[in-house]
Symmetry: C2
Subunit: 442 residues, 2 copies
């Protein structure tokens, strides 16, 4: 039995009525919130957090990332999507070793915890190493081992659909339920129809869903019509992918029929606006999707395109970019933007009891230190969080009732060691790609 008491926080509950409580207590017993407002009189805490000058809200759920790509941060700059892939990432990733995934994911966990993310949906390789980092960090995660399933792109290392099925069978609901899994077929433009059908078959057998990239560029959509006579969304739907719980990453180039499918099949779209801006991809029409009833969550994508893993920044960019693109400054007010980053992400990732501060919910929450000039005055707490705060204002992170960041210090991970290893491994990978390029050009 472990009891945690947070005292005197201003609380953004993000519940249905969007209640804001002032100087409120939050009582946590084991993994659950047992009181919000006033703690029970007989509640004797093992740890008490003095949260004066702090704002509490649910932690962030990063619904699409490639965590270990932190190792490639800043290695392929100022390139459009196709050149970013072909000249940058795919060359560098050919030097990826399985152990790199542990260190890159551990670095990602440090960075995400420090900016208030409690859970992430990861889509990468050698995922048993990612699982180890998640286990140690105390975070929650939805892990998908990426399978190209392609007639032309070789798989990464020993990856096969069977292997990734074994990964699901071994890790589903592990780490006390903190780790969930999906299958990770890469995308309709790389994966063959046969491999996608096999993925549906295996996922159904294992009782999980799929996390997949969808409609990132006009070329992908045009090729889909050329090869299959239909859009990528319609194609995946006809193959049965969306009959399973699904995360569709990006979904930028979708038409009205696609939107109807995404709504009907309750697909979660994970929008990654910072990557979209950086690679000049245009962006997910979040407001249109929401108005049509599609479930939208937010992701960072990998740090090789997004350059960091800060979901608070993504939340801000979501609100700003939708105001810009729609020409309507009233869309995505701060409370709504925060819900995309919290409860929408939690639902997309299958953590249905999380993403809101209310009695009975999982104790996955964060405290921002508001005793800062850029968060003064406090006319609108939600606006201050979305449009003025930084990831670095996160002072406490609590996952399943356990304090993972305490007064700005990580409690579970050896940050200095992780940074040293990540620096070394990142340099090795990029150096190796550069040598290959020289050989090729020489």
């Amino acid at each position: 039995m472990s009891k945690l008491l947070i005292q005197q926080a201003d609380v953004l509950t993000l519940d249905e009525s969007e209640r804001i409580l002032r100087a409120a207590d939050i009582a946590i017993e084991n993994r659950k919130i047992v009181a919000v407002g006033n703690a029970p009189r007989d509640f004797v805490a093992d740890e008490t957090i003095d949260a004066r000058h702090h704002v509490a809200l649910p932690g962030f759920f990063n619904a699409h990332t490639h965590a270990a790509m932190t190792l490639l941060r800043g290695s392929a700059e100022d390139l459009p999507l196709d050149r970013w892939f072909n000249e940058g990432i795919w060359r560098t990733e050919s030097a990826l070793q399985d152990e790199d995934v542990y260190w890159g994911t551990a670095l990602a966990a440090c960075e995400m915890l420090r900016s208030g993310t409690v859970a992430f949906a990861d889509h990468y390789f050698y995922m048993h190493h990612a699982a180890r980092a998640v286990q140690e960090s105390g975070m929650k995660a939805l892990l998908a081992w990426c399978v190209f399933g392609s007639d032309f792109a070789p798989e990464m290392g020993p990856t096969t659909l069977e292997l990734t099925g074994d990964f699901v069978a071994e890790f589903q609901n592990s780490a006390g339920g903190r780790i969930k899994t999906m299958l990770g077929p890469h995308s309709p433009y790389i994966s063959s129809a046969r491999s996608l059908q096999q993925a549906v078959h295996v996922a159904r057998k294992l009782g999980v869903g799929c996390h997949i990239h969808v409609s990132e560029s006009p070329e992908q959509v045009a090729n889909s019509y050329k090869q299959h006579g239909k859009s990528p969304v319609a194609y995946l739907n006809d193959l049965g992918i969306f009959d399973l719980p699904s995360i569709a990453a990006h979904a930028i180039y979708v038409n009205d029929d696609d939107i109807a499918i995404l709504r009907a099949k309750r697909v979660s779209v994970a929008a990654c606006p910072k990557t979209h801006l950086k690679l000049s991809m245009k962006t997910t029409r979040i407001v249109d999707l929401i108005n049509a009833g599609v479930h939208v969550a937010l992701g960072t994508d990998g740090a090789a395109s997004n350059n960091d893993l800060d979901l608070l920044e993504v939340t801000r960019l979501t609100a700003l970019l939708q105001k810009h693109d729609t020409g309507d400054a009233t869309v995505l007010p701060s409370m709504q933007a925060l819900k995309l980053a919290t409860q929408h992400g939690a639902r997309a990732m299958g953590f249905d009891d999380s993403g809101v501060l209310r009695v009975g919910a999982d104790a996955d929450l964060i405290l921002l230190d508001f005793d800062k000039p850029h968060l003064t005055p406090r006319h609108d707490l939600a606006a201050n969080v979305v449009h003025s705060a930084r990831g670095s204002d996160v002072n406490y992170v609590i996952v399943d009732g356990k304090v993972l960041l305490r007064q700005g210090e990580l409690t579970t991970l050896d940050e200095q060691k992780i940074m040293r290893e990540a620096q070394m491994r990142g340099l090795r990978m990029v150096g190796s790609a550069q040598r290959q390029t020289q050989l090729y050009q020489g």
Copy 2:
């Protein structure tokens, strides 16, 4: 004589050849940089900064803000420009007291120093109070007292063109040269032709220029054609404004003829992309302006629309939004984006010896602590600064050779006192506006 030695920094000089130095020293004597690379052997410092794991670069120049509007942060959310003005800001500002400007500007100074800004171009009211905050903070500033000069909008308090001329005469080159001044006619859409002509006359007599809002909305441009038969830029040019050193804030809706004028008259355009996004204004065509030879600098605008005063964030948004709007991911690489935020701003504000790290330049520089997970690994220092760093990574700020932020602590300002006063005054202003609205509606 004061001597400062920075040791073992990785240095982004931002000079013509965009040199990056590793583990380099920077020696500062009084207000100037006397060495970059290796300090002179006989250099005996009064203070030595161990800058291992730090990246040094020129400090940021915020080329357009209304500093004291920090008091209204978060008070008028999710509104388009016209409603933001009419329903939000102008009502609240009717409760502005002269002393509020001191506290609001002091709060702004805390926030700007903490995020690496060394100088700001301010455009507001009661500017002798702003000057006092600048003086105490140790920052540099270009101060302009806003005059509406309108047939319909009453001036703020005792403001007259003569008074603002007196302000220029008294404060130009004060605080050891740290304070410069301009006149601040509000805009071609509020200020009358007569008042703009008078401003030109007075500015010329005083040997200063004008800081003015230009072409923020299609309506402003349409009205200018209706009233004057020409664009706002052509109109201001014909009135002689651009024959003086000028900062044109925003300049979103400009045509090719306008761009030719801005280039020919060496006008500095101050783009404020975060405000543009937030209020759904579209944004300054920075890449087009730069390609046409126009001088472009960056600003935050006020915290009532921008919600913070973080020029590093604005620099990132500039690069991201230009990539998005142009559809070209190669535009505004990180080095170029940083130059807009540093030397371009310095020139716009008349601090011609600043904005670059080289011998003989003013010692206006910042050190970012790179010993952080989100800044690891270090494949590309400039990209890590622009696309991964946060304002909170700024650990040292040096202006005119004086350390104003030391290991994250402000050395000149009483931050706690300033936050308390700002909170109280901000609540008073917004509360007063709300009471007025209730009376009006009751």
